[in-house]
Symmetry: C3
Subunit: 345 residues, 3 copies
């Protein structure tokens, strides 16, 4: 591969500080009404093995605003991919590589998005890979913080969610590039951190951030920012939550945010949520000025436009990409074949 | 909400006479080759809970001709909407509201399109809501009449179909803005009019139109216009027709139009049909000059372009909107949740 | 119909030598970076009853590069076509004819694409009709040969595949317009040629091409070109292959191409494959300079752009169209109704 860095955005590790500032500045300009210089129309292939609203429609809208075209390249009833008499992922991606200029992929298994990136010379964006990462969501989160509150390095940030959730891992990794004053994890005492989550938090600590851990969301309401989602994201992604009964499905009260808690604490904390929400963010919060989750949705468009226009211009990512040099993924098995057989069932 | 009138086109009641003339004039100009002034590309979200050919593809084509973009925002296998671990209609529509500029919705239940309109600041077009209304189809019908035969106020118009069909209700309401000389309903003697249909006919009568009722389609063939469709539209929409046997499925001979009947009556009546047709409009009619139903299909594009460009320019509808001030909908129960659970099954 | 020739591209028989040179020259110019003169945006309807990757996405990409729009007009869960209370093919195509400017169709049964072409004034492209033909694939094949090796009339060409496969039939018919020096069929001794395949080969012989038949793919590796695909394409298309056991599914070793065979024969043969491949083209071949199958994928875009821009400009095909004058289709039964009922199940 020519040039320094990697062609794909698969992990927050692919992003270094200069990459990050470039994306945030581009997104800022777009959000303020300055479209990137017009280029020739490109073809963006959307490969989605999992349900998606914001990532799929968001990339569609972002591409359209840049006057690019979208084509669905997922395994679908009308596609040959994954069919008994059809085509395997390798031939499918090699075929798509002759048609498209960039691929956005959301995959069931962590390894599939790596596999796709390896099979093509096209730049690939990870739109969420199993229990892996979701780097563009982390960029959206950081952009939302800085657009509303300014430099994150002067702020305190709390994260209440399953720390192995893909958006959480990408978010913590990205924070290490612009470390906040304080970072607080809110989760149940019995929850153990995965190795990759623990490593990301260690990185933050080494950057000078004060690390705390609490087990009650109310204890985070003195922070500048709270990013919240269900504590059971991993269970939901793996489908295991379907086996739980209704009582267990409800979020533990200690991890549920309500308007009443915010008001009782006279909290100014900005509330973020990557959505979809479950019971952890009560709708009573929506009308408070703290709520920023639909602002996140809105700001996801300039971020995704900035990422697309950067990558379509051939600019590479110069981050550490540690995950792909070491055995960094939390899951490394999951052969492609099983991924595909699942996705078409 | 700023300005006079409503942002949405949910019912023919939203349209007043000036609105109607504006849309007809815009559509006339477009049909004659004058495209509306070019605007920046907008994003149109298509939310369809029911099957559709003309409305869905028609809005797609109309948007493309205006250089706007279409994105499918329906509950689909790839969407989170309505999924067990997914997202409810409120969060879905609030998310879409950050991405799109206008929503076209066809819904299973009458109330769902109202619910969508209430949840968003975007303009919403009702593309057919259960047994409610279908206002753009009524605009197409009126445009087709006036483009072929001139001012509808000088004409006699017959309607042979289930009078609770959504396109019929919207059509009768719209006619009250440009009342014909004569209006004749053709339906079985035992058929009772719904309250809303009876009210729409009363309105027409108050506008000076002579109202008649016959029970044989041949009795309408002296009119200038006949709009015909199956007498069992309500049953089809509600799925009940599936339970009938084949004999019952065939349209009653008295409500079936054939070329033989048209020729025997030396009729010049222009035949309209919103399609799809069932057995009520025999294909033998297609080659007669009376047939205008595929002309309706063609003229639906300029009408939908006119409606889209008007609403995307932020122009509001200044009709009576009685249905939303009073309890005007024929069905007011149907909670959103049941609508969604049905649409994804 | 005005003008000489036919509006549709349904068979390689529709193409005469001047048509062929026109398409190849247009495609050559496009492949070299010269886009056709910009025209107003048109609407292309994609009607696909069978799985497709290259044809469906390829036409989508080709249309987008020409700044045209694509709309899916297939029978789908959201469409009325083929539904119990929906619409028949005739009304569907007549409706689409009011919306679109051209239709690309892939159909289950041979006769359906003819039926569609008959029902509409729009130009129709056959994107593969059952066991019928696939003329644009044949154009891609010829273009790939001439772009890499020059005038096919100076070359030797081998074809190893089920000779009733639709791409094979179209390819042999097209070769008769630019007959190679030598043409060799590679297939099992017990395989009988269909009447149409035998006629196409007779045509080639009458054009002066030397015809051979071998039963081992290695015997073709002294040719300039080998187009290879599974010997069981017909079984796969008809779904019969699902009944075979795993042992039978594997391609016979004699019809399987491997890098080892190519290298052992010091073969310079250019290897084409319309894809998807099965076991007949081992992946060990991919890295050899002989492999041209992904180049075929790439060159399919300029060919499809050339065909689209020619047909959208109203230019007709002046070939023999023998298949539609005589009883040329290998299958003439298959009523539309059965085609539709299969496609929606």
């Amino acid at each position: 591969m020519a040039g320094v860095g990697v062609k794909d955005l698969l992990s927050a590790d692919d992003i270094d500080e200069r990459d990050l500032l470039d994306v945030l500045n581009k997104a800022e300009a777009i959000a303020d009404g300055k479209l990137p210089a017009r280029t020739s129309a490109r073809m963006i292939g959307l490969f989605f093995e999992q349900e998606s609203t914001r990532t799929r429609i968001g990339f569609d809208v972002a591409a359209s605003r840049l006057r690019h075209h979208i084509v669905d390249i997922s395994a679908s009833p009308g596609s040959r991919l994954g069919k008994a008499q059809g085509e395997d992922l390798e031939d499918h991606i090699r075929t798509i590589s002759e048609y498209c200029d960039l691929i956005v992929a959301r995959t069931e298994h962590v390894a599939t998005v790596e596999e796709i990136a390896r099979l093509t010379h096209l730049p690939v964006i990870n739109g969420g890979n199993g229990i892996g990462e979701h780097p563009t969501q982390a960029l959206v989160d950081l952009f939302t913080i800085e657009r509303r509150l300014g430099d994150v390095r002067r702020l305190s940030v709390a994260l209440s969610c399953d720390p192995t959730a893909r958006h959480a891992l990408s978010f913590m990794k990205l924070l290490a590039l612009r470390p906040p004053q304080r970072f607080t994890l809110c989760l149940a005492p019995e929850t153990k951190l995965s190795n990759v989550a623990a490593a990301a938090i260690d990185d933050l600590r080494h950057c000078g951030t004060t690390i705390d851990r609490v087990d009650n969301v109310e204890a985070t309401l003195d922070h500048d920012v709270l990013s919240i989602q269900t504590q059971r994201a991993s269970s939901i992604i793996s489908g295991r939550i379907g086996e739980m009964d209704a009582v267990q499905k409800a979020e533990d009260e200690k991890f549920t945010l309500t308007a009443e808690k915010i008001l009782r604490n006279r909290s100014k904390t900005m509330i973020m949520n990557p959505l979809p929400r479950h019971s952890e963010t009560d709708k009573s919060c929506d009308s408070l000025p703290n709520a920023a989750y639909f602002e996140q949705v809105r700001l996801s468009i300039p971020i995704r436009m900035a990422v697309l226009s950067r990558m379509l211009a051939g600019r590479r990512w110069t981050g550490r990409s540690r995950s792909r040099l070491q055995a960094g993924w939390p899951e490394t098995s999951s052969p492609i074949s099983s991924s595909l057989s699942q996705s078409v069932n």
